[in-house]
């Protein structure tokens, strides 16, 4: 099948089908049309940020500095396999099943 994410952006315009490919969401033609229009409007609106002078301003990813937190490298009890698989859509032999990725 064709992977839309492999397509390149042809113009500066927001291309709904290209982005849906990146996001791994298949859209119906009706959704594509509707979302293209709605997201164009939203993106048009957020363009107001371009009017701000932001040279020299540091970006904020988090409201407080967050550091990685390490714990001792010791084995601890975690979720039992059968519990972890309870919500899996398809599984067997303690493994999650998916369509084949590599042909043998």
């Amino acid at each position: 099948m064709q992977d839309d994410s492999a397509m390149t952006l042809s113009s500066d315009k927001f291309n709904i089908n290209y982005v849906a490919g990146l996001a791994r969401i298949e859209l119906t033609p009706e959704e594509s049309e509707k979302f293209q229009h709605q997201l164009d409007t939203i993106l048009g609106n957020v363009k107001q940020l371009q009017s701000l002078a932001l040279d020299g301003i540091e970006p904020t990813a988090h409201s407080f500095p967050v550091y990685n937190v390490w714990r001792a490298d010791e084995e601890k009890v975690s979720l039992p396999v059968e519990m972890a698989l309870k919500n899996a859509p398809n599984h067997a032999n303690d493994l999650i099943l998916m369509p084949k990725i590599v042909d043998s």
Binding site: M1, A20, F35, L43, N87
Partner: protein, 484 residues
């Protein structure tokens, strides 16, 4: 007065005086739910048998002993459904308790009912729910706010004593305002997010909704604190929030009133109610100071870049592989991903994932995401400067009272504006409280208005003190919707 109408505090006093048993509270709530829930749709699920066992085993010596708490359907409770009001998670059952649930259990409380919400907490009206929309208890033709609309409606309609919600851009405070109850968004890092399904990780925070400020203080005390399972929860000491409420006058308190929050777009009746409430704070001894938060107008735009960006990354996990629904007959892996997400997500979730994917995509990252993060810095700095002049900031919680069901569903931008007064608090990682401060009249119906109090990081105490003092001199919280 029936038990379901009472506050957490008064029920605790009755339990300790042995006037009632925990099971009496549960039975009273059950009768109330059976009467009004079919109209309200505030819940997605109940397990009454489990709740009955937990009520019977409740340890009354604990601070919240015997109290049932409604839980937003985005917070994990072991062996209960966790749907986030999404088709994709209709059959998901939590394998463990969220940290807040563990802490509530340690405090003697137990979870009762899964509260309805906007799918994956994306929305301001609880209309984006696979369960169907929750109705506003004051007018069934109107929305309860969102995304924690179920958590607010059940408290306002007395089908819960208190509840937990989550707030990414106003999702606790805005529905609390629109339903006429109290809602608290704690400081980012105050409460562990472990077991909360992530929407925008740098903005999400769990918090309580209740009938009084005191009740929310009691719940916050139980759920706050550092958690090794959430590296963004901070090691700030947890104070006794309920004890702090004993101070009732507001002398020496400096209240900042930001001029940017009283501009066009705000409903005139809402503005009148909020200004009257601010006057009452002055009557209580507070000093009012006009302040400026100059980047207010940019908060919404930067939020609607940052939150969808984080959401697009967080929701990548819902791909039909490890949990949740999966389309049948997927012909290859990519086909499974794409069609599962098409079938499982609702429109608003898809819109936000697409928006987030776009602003993070190659060539657009700097123009949108990085720029929005820089604006976030300016918003934080606005608040830092403002808090040099004042101790707490007051604003309306929402520019309007509850709007009609369906009124904004086709116009996402209009819907986003419902959060215009609440999102800056999340962007700056501060704490915010919404308390009822009056009503507007719309076509013969009374609709609640909320007053938002914004506090410095980790200063929930001042927020709760001000909210509580205001509550003592007003009677808004005693007004109840005439449901049926």
């Amino acid at each position: 007065m029936s038990l379901y109408q009472e506050t957490l505090m008064s029920l605790r006093q009755k339990l300790l005086a042995q006037e009632i048993q925990p099971l009496d509270i549960l039975q009273s709530l059950r009768k109330r739910v059976e009467k009004v829930e079919s109209h309200l749709q505030a819940y997605t699920h109940f397990d009454w048998e489990k709740a009955e066992r937990e009520a019977q085993e409740a340890d009354l010596s604990k601070p919240l002993g015997g109290i049932p708490i409604a839980i937003k359907d985005a917070i994990a409770v072991k062996d209960q459904p966790l749907t986030c009001s999404s088709r994709l998670l209709q059959k998901f059952v939590s394998p463990y308790d969220a940290t807040v649930i563990k802490k509530l259990r340690q405090a003697g409380a137990y979870p009762l009912g899964r509260a309805n919400m906007d799918e994956f907490a994306m929305g301001s009206s609880t209309e984006n729910s696979a369960r169907g929309p929750t109705k506003n208890p004051w007018d069934f033709d109107r929305i309860p706010g969102g995304s924690s609309g179920g958590s607010a409606a059940c408290v306002a309609a007395d089908t819960a004593i208190v509840s937990l919600g989550s707030d990414t851009g106003g999702s606790i405070r805005q529905p609390a305002a629109l339903c006429g109850c109290v809602g608290l968004k704690p400081t980012y890092g105050r409460v562990s997010r472990y077991g909360l399904v992530a929407f925008a990780s740098s903005l999400d925070q769990i918090g309580p909704l209740g009938k009084t400020v005191e009740d929310t203080a009691l719940v916050l005390e139980a759920i706050a604190g550092h958690d090794a399972y959430d590296c963004t929860s901070l090691k700030e000491p947890v104070v006794s929030y309920a004890d702090a409420l004993k101070k009732e006058d507001l002398k020496k308190l400096r209240v900042g009133v930001p001029k940017e929050y009283f501009r066009q777009g705000i409903d005139s009746q809402v503005e009148t109610a909020v200004k009257k409430a601010i006057q009452q704070l002055e009557d209580l001894g507070a000093t009012l100071i006009e302040i400026s938060l100059p980047h207010t107008d940019y908060a919404l735009s930067s939020y609607y870049i940052i939150a969808p960006a984080e959401a697009s990354a967080n929701l990548a996990r819902f791909d039909g592989v490890r949990y949740g629904a999966r389309v049948k007959d997927g012909k290859d892996v990519l086909d499974v991903y794409r069609r599962t997400r098409e079938a499982g997500f609702g429109h608003e979730v898809k819109r936000r994932i697409l928006l987030g994917t776009y602003v993070l995509s190659s060539g657009y990252y700097d123009a949108y995401y990085l720029r929005a993060q820089k604006v976030r810095t300016l918003i934080r700095q606005d608040f830092q400067k403002a808090f040099e002049q004042c101790d707490v900031i007051v604003t309306p919680t929402s520019p309007t009272a509850a709007f009609r069901l369906g009124e904004k569903t086709e116009d996402p931008l209009k819907m986003y504006l419902a959060d215009v007064f609440t999102i800056a608090v999340n962007m700056a990682g501060l704490c915010g409280l919404s308390v009822p401060c009056g009503f507007v009249e719309e076509k013969g119906k009374k609709l609640p208005v909320g007053l938002q109090l914004i506090g410095k990081a980790f200063d929930e105490t001042t927020l709760l003190q001000v909210g509580h003092a205001y509550e003592q001199v007003t009677s808004w919280r005693k007004m109840k919707p005439n449901l049926l």
